[in-house]
């Protein structure tokens, strides 16, 4: 994991699913000055960032260790924002089925994007789908209320 210049915090990490937890812990440790509560950071933001990195490494970079993922974090007074970019060709987030539908409930995959949408306030993809931006605000109605529409 290397820290780059630009933004509040920019990290480049190699594609290795074992590095995700440490990278997320590091980003969260740098967000403590935000007005977003520790509980929301530790659940909503942790889940969102973990799932974004997992998708980037497993599906975007297809587990290729020669490829890397860049995380760019902006710490606003009333929000935290992370952009995760992989080196894959992207995907269409609208093509991912709802994992809570009865026919999908027993699938062993496909819940990451759903959790991101549920737990973050905003979720934005670039046009080709290899970059996602997560925004969590301090002023959400409750600890777990997100509801991004992307």
């Amino acid at each position: 994991m290397s820290e780059l210049t630009g933004g509040d915090l920019v990290l480049e990490i190699p594609t290795d699913i074992h590095s995700i937890s440490g990278a997320v812990d590091y980003v969260l440790s740098r967000c403590s000055a935000s007005e977003v509560s520790a509980r929301k950071l530790n659940l909503n933001f942790r889940v969102g960032l973990t799932e974004a990195l997992t998708n980037a490494m497993m599906y975007g970079n297809d587990h290729d260790p020669s490829k890397s993922v860049v995380i760019e974090v902006v710490m606003g007074r009333d929000h935290v924002q992370a952009t995760v970019r992989d080196q894959g060709s992207g995907f269409d987030p609208r093509s991912v089925p709802d994992p809570t539908l009865p026919e999908n409930l027993t699938r062993s995959y496909g819940r990451g994007l759903f959790l991101m949408r549920e737990l973050l306030d905003e979720l934005w993809f670039n046009d080709c789908g290899n970059e996602v931006t997560l925004i969590l605000r301090a002023e959400s109605c409750s600890t777990f209320e997100g509801g991004a529409s992307a």
Binding site: I17, I20, S21, Y109, R111
Partner: protein
């Protein structure tokens, strides 16, 4: 993550310490599959000391539950924190699993 395996009557109890995430989910899967191969049928996975489960961890639990049922058994979960329970509720997996308040309650009626 580490886990401790014990046996209470005929039930295999697995305590998960730390995080159940994409980087370690296969360790738990391997452990349970080995127990199934040995003929074990009833399982409780206890999350009293689990800080976090990601979507890959949830997926492994779904996969193991299916496999255990195919062998005529049952998987129950116990001791979810409020945050973990929220993840199960959001994904509606609370409708798929029998989730007990604690290990003792999970063991009742097996």
């Amino acid at each position: 993550m580490s886990f401790q395996v014990s046996k209470v009557n005929d039930v295999t109890v697995i305590e998960v310490d730390g995080q159940l995430i994409v980087g370690n989910r296969n360790e738990l899967k391997k452990e349970v599959l080995e127990k199934i191969e040995l003929g074990e049928q009833t399982f409780v996975i206890d999350f009293a000391n689990t800080a976090y489960i990601d979507s890959s961890g949830l997926g492994v639990l779904v996969s193991l539950s299916k496999k255990i049922r195919e062998h005529g058994g049952e998987l129950r979960l116990s001791s979810l924190s409020e945050d973990l329970r929220t993840l199960f509720e959001l994904t509606k997996l609370d409708t798929l699993f029998r989730i007990a308040e604690d290990r003792e309650q999970a063991l009742e009626g097996f």
